[in-house]
Structure formats: structure tokens, C-alpha cells
């Protein structure tokens, strides 16, 4: 019968090993950096179509993560999708004429918001809204547009040929 | 003399078998009462009913004035502290030493200091003659020794009632002699009341003050050992004398032997 002290030491080491494993999983395997709520400020943007954008989707400038989406809901007045996002405090001076677009990472990846900073001298304050937005590309609309273009160019060429 | 245990009109069934039909018995305080009978008559069941591990279908069982099967859990546990029970297989905790086994009830139910517990445990072990074996593990004990340790554990809290379930079965003559002497001595020295369930006739009758013989769910006979030996009721005699045939038949029920050897079924083997 192992002594009580040996047992307690064993259990303590076991717990320690498991906690270390958890930390390794958290930081090395899943790249969890934003676990502590980073300081930041909220801004919003309205889109016609958010595609596959979800809460906690990334917000990036030039491909670099600078924040995440915190809320998505439908504006009942304008019927546009209102997306609220938290920008890290390190990104302090975002020009207020910047545009926001919903892009896809890679070919079949998740959607994220890409902010393109412009040249204004006044900056976005907490609670401000980005005015220029580009919605997500919806495949059906693209195909529809493509077919329409093909149709109209054919029509033009046949029209042009008739004497 | 007041009765420590009073059982009235006890009925108990297991499935469709009636284990007890209208059984009544009394155990006077300070005496040794033996409950005997052939195997399978439910003697162990009776102990379980007295201890509150089973509930009777009808009737009442009074222990120290309290009706056992109507008690709630905490009252039942309080009652059980006054009862010590020795099981047939000993029931020692295999992961504890002999000392720890006997100390177990003391640690659980009292707030005594370690030195007090040590003194009490050593005294109890001394009573059963195993004080020197205190650091052995149960696996290292012989059958007789582990029963004695279980006995020391059963009396650790100084109970009023001690119940023995087949204490003599499978023991060599020396261990049997030791146990017989212990049961009588402890009962008298500590002022206990003892109930022994057994089918070892000579040993039990040598120390019992009163005997009940159970058979077929009823009490076939009762009385002091002398009375029973000299004037046994019908079914009891076969049991007490150890006769192979009598009210309990030798042959298991079967068809006539001639028919078995020469009849239809035998024809299949021709």
C-alpha cells in the first residue's frame, strides 16, 4: 500500500502534467493568442451580403490580423447586414474613409473582413461606421452575371453581323 | 429478563418462495441464542432482516425496542453501531492491515485521539489473542485468524448485540475450539447478547443458552440444549443427530428406479 504522501505527490505531478499539456495545446497547437480579451475599440460596417462571415471571423489589413467580428445582425430599417467588429488598440489611426470588403481566405476558406486604409487625415473613433463596403462574392450572382455577359456579347456580335 | 430482539409473526418471501412464514422468536439480553437448521432455510436471511439489510413482507422485528424496518437511514445507522456482525467469509478489508481493520469503526464513528484508538485496538486484539499479528495483511492470515480479527473488529465499538453467521464452518478443530471459547467468554465478560447462526450441532449446543431450529420457513423446535437433545420434536431429531434420512429425504425426487433402468428412456440407449 503506497503511502499517502507518495499518492499525493503522484496525483500532483499528474495534474501538473495535464495542465502543461493543456497549455501546450492552447498555445503551440491552436495558436491561441487572443485568449485574454485584448484592448480595442468597436467600429461597424453595413454590407449588402455577408456571405459566410461569422462572429469571431478575422478582420485583417494587408492580410495581417487586427481584430475580429463581434456581432452580426440585420438592421431592421435599412435591411442591410450590420457587422460590428473589435479593432486592436495597437491599430490606432485608421482613416475614416477606409473601405471594408468581405474576402475569402484561399480558394475554399473562411470569410474575413479586409480593411483597406485610404488617405483621409481624420481617423475612425470608437463607434464609427465604415461607409464604403464591398459585399461578399456570391457564386450564383457571378455565374448569373457571366451568363448575362455572354448573352449580351453574342447579341451584339449577331446584331453587328446583320446587314 | 428483557428481550433485546423480539420477532413477531415474520413473513418473508423471495420470489415465489416463502422463506419465513409466521416466525416468532425472542432473544433475551445477555444470553447466547442459537438459530440452527439445514442449509438453505434462510438463517443468514434472518440475520440480514435483524440488521435491517432486508425488509420483511409482514410482521415486526424489534431490536432494543426499535422496529428495524421502519427506521430511516440515519436512525438505522445509529442502531447498527450497537450491533457487531461477523460474516461467514470474514469480510476483512483486504487493503488494510489487521490493526487498520479493527481501527476502522473507531475512526469512522468516534473522534478519539490516535493514542486512544491504538490502545483500544490493541486491547480488542488481545481479547481475541492476535495482538502480535497487528501489522499483517488479511491475505497473510489463516481462515481462523481472519475470523478472529473480524470478531475483534465487530466488538471494537463495544456493541450490545453480536451476530455470528456460520462462525464454525470450515474450521479445523483447534480454531473451532478457540472460537467456541471466545464467543462464550466475550459474551459473559462484556455483557453482550449473542445470536449464532450455525449448523455445527455439537459446538453450538455446547455454548448456547437457547436454541431455535428452523426448517421449511417455520420454527420446528426450540428450547434449551438439554431439552432439545433429550426430547426433540420430530423434524428436529434428524437434524440434531445428523441422520442421513428422515423428514428431510436422502433421495432427490425422481421416478421409480426400475422404470429408469428398463423403461422408454432406457430404450434410447440400447
Amino acid at each position: 500500500m503506497t503511502s499517502q504522501r507518495a499518492i499525493e505527490t503522484g496525483v500532483g505531478l499528474f495534474l501538473l502534467a495535464a495542465m502543461t499539456a493543456l497549455l501546450v495545446l492552447a498555445f503551440r497547437v491552436s495558436g491561441l493568442t487572443g485568449f485574454i480579451q485584448q484592448e480595442g475599440y468597436q467600429i461597424s460596417a453595413a454590407f449588402d451580403d455577408i456571405g459566410q462571415l461569422k462572429v469571431r471571423s478575422a478582420v485583417r489589413i494587408d492580410g495581417v490580423n487586427i481584430g475580429e467580428v463581434t456581432d452580426i445582425h440585420l438592421d431592421p430599417v435599412s435591411f442591410r447586414a450590420l457587422v460590428t467588429m473589435r479593432i486592436n488598440a495597437t491599430v490606432r489611426q485608421l482613416p475614416d474613409d477606409s473601405s471594408a470588403a468581405i474576402l475569402t481566405s484561399g480558394l475554399l476558406g473562411d470569410n474575413y473582413i479586409a480593411i483597406t486604409p485610404m488617405y483621409s487625415q481624420s481617423f475612425l473613433k470608437p463607434g464609427d461606421r465604415i461607409r464604403e463596403t464591398h459585399s461578399a462574392m456570391i457564386l450564383e450572382k457571378l455565374i448569373g452575371q457571366f451568363l448575362f455577359n455572354v448573352q449580351s456579347s453574342r447579341k451584339n456580335s449577331t446584331q453587328g453581323k446583320s446587314p | 429478563m428483557t428481550d433485546l430482539i423480539k420477532i413477531n409473526a415474520l413473513y418473508f418471501n423471495r420470489g415465489d418462495r416463502a422463506i419465513f412464514s409466521d416466525v416468532a422468536l425472542n432473544v433475551p439480553k445477555g444470553s447466547i441464542v442459537a438459530i440452527m437448521g439445514p442449509s438453505g432455510t434462510g438463517k443468514t436471511t434472518l440475520l440480514q432482516l435483524i440488521g435491517g439489510q432486508l425488509r420483511p413482507d409482514r410482521g415486526e422485528i424489534l431490536v432494543a425496542g426499535e422496529c428495524v424496518h421502519t427506521l430511516n437511514r440515519s436512525a438505522l445507522y445509529r442502531l447498527r453501531r450497537k450491533i457487531g456482525m461477523l460474516f461467514q467469509s470474514g469480510g476483512l478489508f483486504t487493503h488494510l492491515t489487521v490493526f487498520e481493520n479493527v481501527a476502522f469503526p473507531l475512526r469512522e464513528h468516534t473522534q478519539l485521539s490516535e493514542s486512544m484508538i491504538r490502545s483500544i485496538v490493541l486491547l480488542k486484539l488481545q481479547m481475541v489473542g492476535l495482538r502480535g499479528a497487528r501489522d499483517l495483511m488479511p491475505a497473510e492470515l489463516s481462515g481462523g485468524m481472519s475470523r478472529r480479527v473480524a470478531l475483534a473488529r465487530a466488538i471494537a465499538l463495544d456493541p450490545e448485540l453480536v451476530m455470528y453467521d456460520e462462525p464454525f464452518s470450515g474450521q479445523d478443530p483447534i480454531s473451532m475450539g478457540v472460537l467456541v471459547r471466545l464467543i462464550r467468554t466475550l459474551n459473559d465478560a462484556l455483557g453482550l447478547t449473542t445470536v449464532i447462526v450455525s449448523h455445527d450441532v455439537p459446538e453450538t449446543l455446547s455454548i448456547a443458552d437457547y436454541v431455535y431450529v428452523l426448517s421449511g420457513g417455520k420454527i420446528e423446535g426450540q428450547g434449551t440444549p438439554d431439552a432439545l437433545m433429550h426430547n426433540p420434536p420430530a423434524g428436529v431429531n434428524q437434524f440434531l443427530q445428523g441422520l442421513p434420512d428422515g423428514p428431510v429425504p436422502f433421495d432427490y425426487p425422481a421416478v421409480d428406479i426400475l422404470k429408469d433402468l428398463t423403461g422408454e428412456e432406457a430404450g434410447h440407449y440400447a
Binding site: Q4, V11, F14, V29, S30, G31 | G51, R78, G90, G91
Partner: protein
């Protein structure tokens, strides 16, 4: 024919009765927390040691081999699609979401679950539990509840250790043996693994499994027939029912998690 139907009905009722008994036992175990008693924590830590710490060897070795095999097989197939750099995410996601919780639970059932069932069954057979009852100590609180909590605490911890060991095994094969770049391995993994959806969900699964496996083991041991055949049956039933329960619950939990709870 009618007899068969009767038998079926009877076994169905018997099954419901068993479920009821298990439920009552669970109630007694949960609401009589040993912590209240003087050495409750000591009892639980003894069980965590017996169930968790002593299972570490099989868990670590299994984790290592599973990680290594995953890396080997994964690389073999991914290379055909030119997607070898996805090896890190492949291993991490398979292990964290499914293999970690499920394999650890089944190994735990085999090692600690059967040991529990056999131990408790043997205590029943040698009248230790009855003795305890007659000494006015509740065996459910003293023996069963600490073992339930021990398993419940041990399995998630074991799963964490299994996960890390498996990923490390994959790293060994992928980086040290097959020659992948260590940096790419980790960074690809980090960008594909989400802490909440993968790591935390895996831990939630292992908590559920820990509870179920230990409960089955304790139940089978406590209600085993007090003969040697009865105890043998109890141990085989423990591992069979535990494995089935783990796999079934894994499906249910995965469906809930993918659906986004």
C-alpha cells in the same frame, strides 16, 4: 412464438429496471459527496492515483504510436495530392476532435474500468461491502463515490496528455524522420486548429466519457453476482458497454458540436 415475444418483453423490462437501479445508485453517489466527510479529499486523491496516474503508461505509449502512425499514413496519402503541408492540421484535428477523447476513453475502460469493476465486485463477494454496511458506514459514500469522482477527474487529464503525446509523435515522424520543416508544421497547425471548437470540445467529450465509463464500471462491480463467474462477467460487461457507450455518445456529441451548439 408467443413465448419469444414474452421473453423479449421481459428482457426489455429487465433492462429498464437496470437503468433505474443505475440511476438510483448515481443519485446516492452524487448527492452524498465524500468531501463533506473528514477525509473525502484523501479518498478521491487515492482514486485519482489508482485510476489516472497508474494508467499513464498505457496512455502515453498509445498516444505516441497513434500520432506516429497518423503522420505516416497521412503523409502517404497527402503526398499524392501535393498537400503534404497539411499534415500538421490533419493530425492535430483528428487527435483533438476524435481520436484523443475516444481512444483514451476506451483504453481507460479497459485498464481502469475493468480494475474498478473487479475490485468492487470482489469486495461484494467477500462480504466487505456488507460488513461496512453493518458497521454503519455507507459503502456508497466510502467506496463508490470516490471512485466515480476519481474517474471523472482522471479521464480529461489523461486525454490532454494523450493529445499532446500523439501530436508530439506525429512531429517526430513528420519532422525528424520524413524531413518536414518544423516551423511550417506548427504554423499550419496553429492556423487550422481553433481552441474553442477543437481543444475545448475534445475536453468536453472526455468529461462526458469519463463520467459514463466510470459509472458503468462502478455499477457493474456493485451489482455483480458474488461468485467468480459473476465478477468475470462484470468485467467483460464493463469494457463492452463502455466501448459501445463511448462510440455512441461520440457520435451524438460530434453531431451536436458540428451543428454548433
Amino acid at each position: 412464438m408467443l413465448n419469444r415475444v414474452g421473453d423479449l418483453g421481459r428482457s426489455g423490462l429487465e433492462w429498464v429496471r437496470e437503468l433505474g437501479r443505475a440511476g438510483l445508485l448515481l443519485y446516492r453517489m452524487l448527492f452524498c459527496i465524500p468531501n463533506i466527510r473528514k477525509h473525502g479529499l484523501q479518498l478521491i486523491s487515492q482514486q485519482v492515483f489508482a485510476e489516472g496516474v497508474l494508467s499513464l503508461s498505457i496512455i502515453v505509449v498509445s498516444g505516441l504510436f497513434i500520432g506516429m502512425v497518423l503522420a505516416l499514413q497521412g503523409h502517404h496519402t497527402l503526398a499524392k495530392f501535393g498537400a503534404s503541408m497539411e499534415l500538421g492540421p490533419l493530425v492535430a484535428l483528428s487527435v483533438l476532435r476524435e481520436l484523443g477523447p475516444v481512444v483514451t476513453a476506451i483504453l481507460f475502460a479497459g485498464r481502469a474500468g475493468t480494475a474498478l469493476a473487479a475490485e468492487i465486485g470482489l469486495m461484494q463477494a467477500t462480504a466487505q461491502i456488507s460488513s461496512m454496511e453493518m458497521m454503519a458506514v455507507d459503502p456508497v459514500r466510502r467506496i463508490l463515490a470516490p471512485r466515480l469522482w476519481g474517474g471523472f477527474i482522471s479521464l480529461p487529464l489523461l486525454t490532454l496528455i494523450f493529445n499532446v503525446t500523439a501530436i508530439y509523435g506525429a512531429w517526430l515522424v513528420g519532422v525528424q524522420w520524413l524531413g518536414f520543416d518544423s516551423g511550417t508544421f506548427w504554423s499550419n497547425m496553429q492556423s487550422s486548429v481553433d481552441f474553442h471548437a477543437d481543444v475545448v470540445n475534445g475536453i468536453i467529450k472526455s468529461i462526458v466519457f469519463g463520467f459514463v465509463v466510470t459509472m458503468i464500471a462502478v455499477y457493474q462491480g456493485y451489482f455483480a453476482r458474488p461468485t467468480s463467474a459473476g465478477i468475470a462477467n462484470a468485467t467483460t460487461r464493463t469494457i463492452v458497454y463502455s466501448s459501445l457507450a463511448v462510440l455512441g455518445l461520440d457520435f451524438v456529441l460530434t453531431a451536436m458540436m458540428i451543428g454548433g451548439w
